[in-house]
């Protein structure tokens, strides 16, 4: 099982690095977003209680998350190509557990997302964001977990889709809003009630909590924060849920209609 997972994940990564425009695009876009939005809003961003934080700094974990979102989603979208171009049919008739097919794709996407996010993480010290060794480990683990969640969610959506065009539509009306409403762009604390509810049930909001806290607290401090523990539980449930549903989906085969035996 592990051999199959590794083989499929490695394939994802190899394909990714052989397409330089994909690498440039997926790193360049969030970087530009961050620089332009961050620099633009820094002058007017003054939320109460966050006086010491520039928008560039506030937005930084959000951009990390956005990178994960794009990298993960765009690698899970390739499952549509795999089906179209025939590669998938060969995998489906191979004697591998269906979970291995899911994990191969998901870990491949996670690997790609992590490579990008880690590059971006190197910028943190330049911003004066203090990150201890423990904090770094926590951030990396959070990135891993979140990107697994995104890739598994993308996989689950992409699996039954027949065209990438359809997926782009879902991306704009469902996946992008998940990021927009995560607290990446604005703090959760001062939004209208209905939006607050939406944000609270959004697992990406909780991923952002996990990602932001280690920048500002010690490891023990982070775990003492009840908000962190709740968020961790939500994110873990999100990841496990999406992986499980993906497996169920892959396991499901086309079925003939029931007939009355005469």
């Amino acid at each position: 099982m592990m051999r199959a997972v590794v083989a499929l994940a490695r394939r994802e990564f190899t394909r990714f690095i052989r397409q330089p425009q994909r690498v440039v695009g997926s790193i360049g876009q969030p970087l530009l977003f961050w620089l332009f939005l961050g620099s633009g809003f820094t002058g007017s961003f003054r939320p109460p209680g966050m006086e010491g934080i520039s928008y560039l700094e506030f937005f930084y974990p959000g951009v990390l998350l956005m990178m994960l979102l794009f990298a993960s989603i765009f690698s899970s979208i390739t499952v549509i190509e795999d089906r179209d171009q025939g590669f998938l049919q060969g995998v489906l008739v191979a004697p591998v557990p269906r979970m291995a097919i899911v994990l191969g794709k998901v870990f491949g996407g996670t690997l790609i997302a992590m490579a990008q996010a880690l590059l971006f993480l190197l910028l943190a010290p330049l911003l004066g964001l203090p990150l201890s060794a423990g904090g770094t480990v926590m951030v990396i683990l959070t990135l891993l977990l979140t990107s697994t969640g995104f890739t598994a969610l993308g996989f689950l959506i992409a699996w039954s889709m027949r065209s990438t065009a359809g997926f782009h539509a879902i991306m704009m009306v469902f996946l992008m809003p998940m990021w927009l409403l995560s607290g990446a762009l604005f703090p959760v604390e001062h939004v209208p009630g209905w939006l607050y509810v939406l944000m609270e049930i959004n697992p990406v909001t909780h991923a952002l909590v996990l990602l932001r806290l280690p920048f500002y607290a010690t490891v023990s401090g982070v775990f003492a924060d009840p908000r962190f523990v709740t968020s961790l539980a939500v994110v873990v449930a999100w990841v496990v849920g999406c992986l499980y549903l993906s497996m169920v989906r892959v396991e499901r085969r086309d079925r003939g209609a029931a007939i009355s035996q005469s």
Binding site: T14, Q85, G86, Q89, V93, R253
Partner: protein, 315 residues
């Protein structure tokens, strides 16, 4: 080795289409080590049957067993001993030949000395040796097909399914692909079931199954199928086929079949066709554009069995 029993498949109704029966009460058995060709016109249910055999689709009713295992309940066991060559490529064209072989080996749990052995074997019969580092999308059609076959044979499948594997190949590459396949099939006593609609490909098979509209119409050796037609066929092209067909029937007591512009007289005993040709030519010379004697080929059998034309003089 492959046992299909009373198989029925009905595609469920969708918003745009009512339900459609693709296979109906089909039974077929392919013995161990047999090379069986499955053919039929487009829409006959071949592809549906193929998907069911691979375990990708669960049929409405009936059962399929491969080497004693139930294809649906014991899917993993079946996948392990079965190789599948799909009509469309099942390789990653952005990766090299070697990388594709490696992924396949990993999926089937092959590694170490066994893998090295099998790779060596595959490079011996194929022309891929010089191409290992090449990306698949730069291979010719013939080589790409060889890769599909090489990939599947790495795992030494006991049963090999192929779905129109020579589609898009030029005649030389097709010949080459089939020769290799047949040689390896014999050497390894593999059970092979291959769909095709090119009848020259079926001449060499152990058995040929013919499907139409989801039913199995015939399943026999190529010799026995040819024998169903009588030994020879007289083919006449006429300026007015319907009228000539009627007169052949009325005046010479023949049973002509009409296929488009052609009139075929199929039940000619061996050696009798030359005399028949002379007598037809003697009586109807002005109406005849061409007349010939053909040895019955499988294609003729196929046309005869699936009834692509209309019998007698009626349109």
């Amino acid at each position: 080795m492959i046992l299909i029993r009373d198989l029925t498949h009905v595609y469920p109704a969708t918003r745009r289409q009512s339900s459609r029966t693709a296979i109906s009460r089909l039974s077929l058995e392919v013995a161990e080590g047999e090379f069986c060709i499955l053919s039929g016109p487009n829409g006959s249910g071949k592809s549906t049957l193929f998907r069911i055999l691979c375990g990708l689709t669960v049929p409405s009713a009936g059962g399929v067993r491969v080497a004693g295992f139930d294809v649906f309940a014991e899917a993993m066991a079946v996948r392990g001993i079965m190789g599948v060559v799909f009509q469309s490529p099942a390789v990653d064209k952005h990766l090299s030949v070697a990388e594709n072989l490696a992924i396949h080996a990993d999926l089937y749990g092959l590694h170490g000395a066994v893998l090295a052995d099998r790779l060596g074997e595959a490079l011996e019969w194929s022309d891929l040796k010089e191409r290992l580092g090449q990306k698949v999308d730069t291979l010719s059609g013939g080589l790409a097909r060889q890769l599909e076959l090489a990939k599947c044979l790495l795992t030494r499948p006991r049963v090999l399914l192929l779905d129109e594997p020579t589609t898009g190949l030029d005649p030389a590459s097709r010949r080459n692909f089939l020769d290799v396949l047949r040689r390896l099939q014999r050497a390894r006593a593999m059970t092979v079931l291959m769909t095709t609609h090119i009848f020259q490909e079926a001449e060499d098979a152990d058995r040929v199954a013919i499907m139409k509209d989801g039913h199995l119409l015939a399943c026999d050796t190529p010799q026995a199928l040819r024998a169903r037609l009588g030994h020879e066929v007289v083919v006449v092209q006429a300026s007015d086929p319907p009228s000539l067909a009627r007169r052949l029937e009325a005046e010479l007591g023949l049973a002509p079949l009409r296929f488009g512009e052609e009139i075929r007289i199929e039940d000619v005993p061996a050696g009798g066709s030359l005399a028949l040709l002379e007598s037809i030519l003697g009586r109807y010379r002005p109406e005849i554009l061409s007349i010939s004697i053909k040895q019955a080929a499988l294609e003729d059998v196929f046309i005869h069995i699936t009834g692509a034309g209309t019998a007698g003089g009626s349109p």
